[in-house]
């Protein structure tokens, strides 16, 4: 048997007990950052409590209505923040799955169009489809890693390395090769026409991902929410210290943790192309794109890469 596509490889291990995930502290660095801020707020509440009870006696008693009003506005801001961030995350997920679908369709068509003995063209398409995915991945992170790009023959990537936008250059090379195949009558008019849509989809996906990567939520909203959460935490103790005394430290720290945590989580998932625990499985998708394009085109593009060439 060939090694099968493993659909479970991308998933987290599901916790055995519903609440065991509560204690899964070390797998969530973002939330750990929140803990520190929540502790600071706790200390602030302690100080306010001490000053108010034993030193200053300001007697500032905001009525509870204030907290209802503040709380509901804050709720809406957090909803807005969370949904826009999650929307970017999910759109990013859709974009990379389109890239993968497109790679499957493109390579499957090229397999049908190209002669079984035309190893050179088969390798070219399999390689360029895979390189496009790898180049896009690193472009969305810290710049292209040329060591990840595959060269099936010397000098194949020399043009690509010179260029300013690598995925676009790869699409350009693919377009040139398709036009050559059309001119030499290896592919027909409708086949040529259809291949254009695959190139267009590649460019669309790259542009979609670039948009998500470069457009976080407007700066004003981000700051507004942070200020609001901070102000809320500053006022909150006055509403509770009379009733709860030192217990208010715990309660307010927990409330602050929940609110600020949501803000930080949103910040983290709105650029989903990185490589931490909440980011998209983009490395996995790139590897599977390489796998699809090589198995569909029935060639191997890496020296040590074993694939099952089918006998006909």
């Amino acid at each position: 048997m060939a090694d099968h596509f493993d659909i479970h490889a991308m998933e987290d291990k599901k916790p055995s007990m519903w609440f065991s995930v509560v204690f899964d502290y070390f797998r969530t660095p973002t939330l750990r950052k929140t803990t520190f801020s929540a502790l600071l707020v706790g200390v602030y509440v302690l100080i306010i409590n001490y000053l108010e009870k034993f030193v200053v006696h300001v007697d500032f008693h905001p009525p509870s209505t204030i907290f209802y009003i503040l709380g509901s506005v804050l709720g809406w801001l957090l909803v807005f923040r969370t949904y826009t961030a999650y929307d970017r995350w999910w759109k990013g997920r859709i974009a990379i799955s389109y890239l993968s679908n497109n790679a499957k369709n493109f390579s499957s068509k090229m397999n049908a169009y190209l002669d079984k003995s035309d190893i050179e063209n088969r390798k070219f398409f399999a390689n360029m489809i895979a390189n496009h995915a790898y180049a896009m991945k690193e472009m969305l992170r810290h710049g292209i890693k040329y060591s990840e790009l595959i060269e099936t023959k010397p000098g194949e990537l020399s043009e690509i390395k010179k260029t300013y936008h690598v995925p676009n250059e790869i699409a350009a090379q693919l377009m040139i090769r398709l036009t050559l195949l059309y001119k030499t009558k290896i592919i027909s008019y409708p086949q040529y026409l259809e291949a254009h849509t695959y190139i267009d989809t590649m460019n669309l996906v790259v542009a979609d991902c670039e948009r998500i990567h470069s457009s976080p939520i407007p700066f004003a909203y981000r700051i507004h929410l942070k200020k609001y959460v901070l102000l809320f935490a500053i006022i909150m103790p006055y509403g509770f210290i009379d009733y709860l005394d030192y217990w208010s430290t715990l309660v307010i720290a927990v409330i602050f943790y929940a609110m600020y945590g949501l803000d930080l989580l949103a910040e983290e998932i709105e650029d989903p192309f990185g490589d931490d625990e909440n980011d998209l499985p983009i490395d996995y998708v790139c590897a599977s794109i390489e796998k699809y394009s090589t198995t569909n085109l029935q060639v191997s593009i890496r020296p040590s890469h074993k694939i099952h060439a089918h006998e006909h």
């Binding site: 599901k14 609440f19 909803v79 509770f240 009733y243 909440n278 089918h310």
Partner: protein, 290 residues
């Protein structure tokens, strides 16, 4: 009606299904834990310690706002996956039917029609089990030993099926059995079939971001820790029942979210994937095999 869901005959009969539901089973332990915690707390506070920690209701309102937001988010994102999965399945059905009627109109050869009929329904069945645990080979119709061998050796069976279909379409085109506009159409249906599998895989492999799951559960956990203090002074041991009911509602929503966000299994809440496959097989065979 092939697709009438699982509707209970009378509204109150659902109450008797209560003990059998999966949600209850998933959260039952922690629910009992919450009840036990409340009981112990109640005893300690009212008979031993008298800490007199009485949080004002405002606290529950503020915490409730954020909790409500998190639960809405959890429910919406999970349901969105479920419903998108349902749409993809109906797209697959529509695509299979269009594919079949076009093949039927374009080709005269009965063997070729049989080939496409088998391949289209094989694709649906292969996708179904691909999204579960692995292909069930007795559901796949054999074309010839060569093809079966090729499928069994394949890394991704639905993809390989479409690969073979694409090769066949191109071969027929080269022989002049299909014209230019006809292969454009057939290629489009092959692409849609592959894209639907990819989109279903996306739903299958992408649960809600991990940190959100953790955050929500932590929050419910802390909420449950504080909640009893609001009740034990007035309600005494009755607060055990109250806390357990509230906990059931909160944690239950989260458990349901986790359950429906992967809708391709075989539970009571999953999509009718098996029925969709049977429908595809029946419609395609009705058109292509006469």
């Amino acid at each position: 009606m092939a697709f009438s869901g699982k509707r209970p005959p009378l509204w109150y009969s659902i109450i008797f299904d209560f003990l059998g539901t999966k949600t209850l089973r998933i959260i039952s332990f922690s629910m009992l834990g919450a009840g036990l915690y409340t009981g112990v707390l109640d005893y300690l506070e009212n008979y031993v310690l008298h800490v007199d920690f009485k949080p004002p209701t405002t606290i529950f309102t503020i915490m409730g706002t954020v909790l409500g937001l998190l639960l809405v988010f959890r429910t919406n994102t999970a349901y969105d996956r479920w419903w998108s999965g349902r749409i993809l399945l109906s797209d697959l059905t529509a695509n299979a039917r269009s594919f079949a009627i076009k093949i039927n109109a374009y080709l005269d050869n009965n063997d070729l029609k049989l080939f496409f009929a088998k391949m289209i329904s094989n694709h649906a069945y292969a996708m179904k089990e691909h999204l579960r645990e692995g292909i069930k080979w007795d559901e796949i119709d054999e074309i010839d030993p060569d093809t079966t061998h090729r499928l069994k050796e394949s890394y991704h069976v639905p993809n390989e099926i479409i690969n073979i279909v694409n090769e066949k379409i191109t071969e027929l085109y080269r022989k002049g059995l299909l014209t230019d506009p006809q292969i454009i159409e057939l290629n489009r249906h092959a692409d849609i079939a592959t894209s639907i599998v990819g989109s279903c895989e996306r739903i299958r492999t992408t649960p809600m971001p991990f940190s959100y799951r953790v955050h929500l559960r932590k929050y419910i956990f802390f909420f449950t820790l504080i909640m009893p203090f609001g009740f034990i002074h007035e309600l005494n041991y009755w607060s055990i029942v109250l806390v357990m009911i509230i906990y059931y509602a909160l944690a239950g929503l989260d458990a349901i979210g986790e359950e429906i966000e992967d809708p391709f299994g075989q539970d009571e809440n999953d999509l009718p994937v098996d029925k969709v496959c049977r429908t595809i097989k029946n419609s395609v065979e009705a058109v292509l095999i006469r």
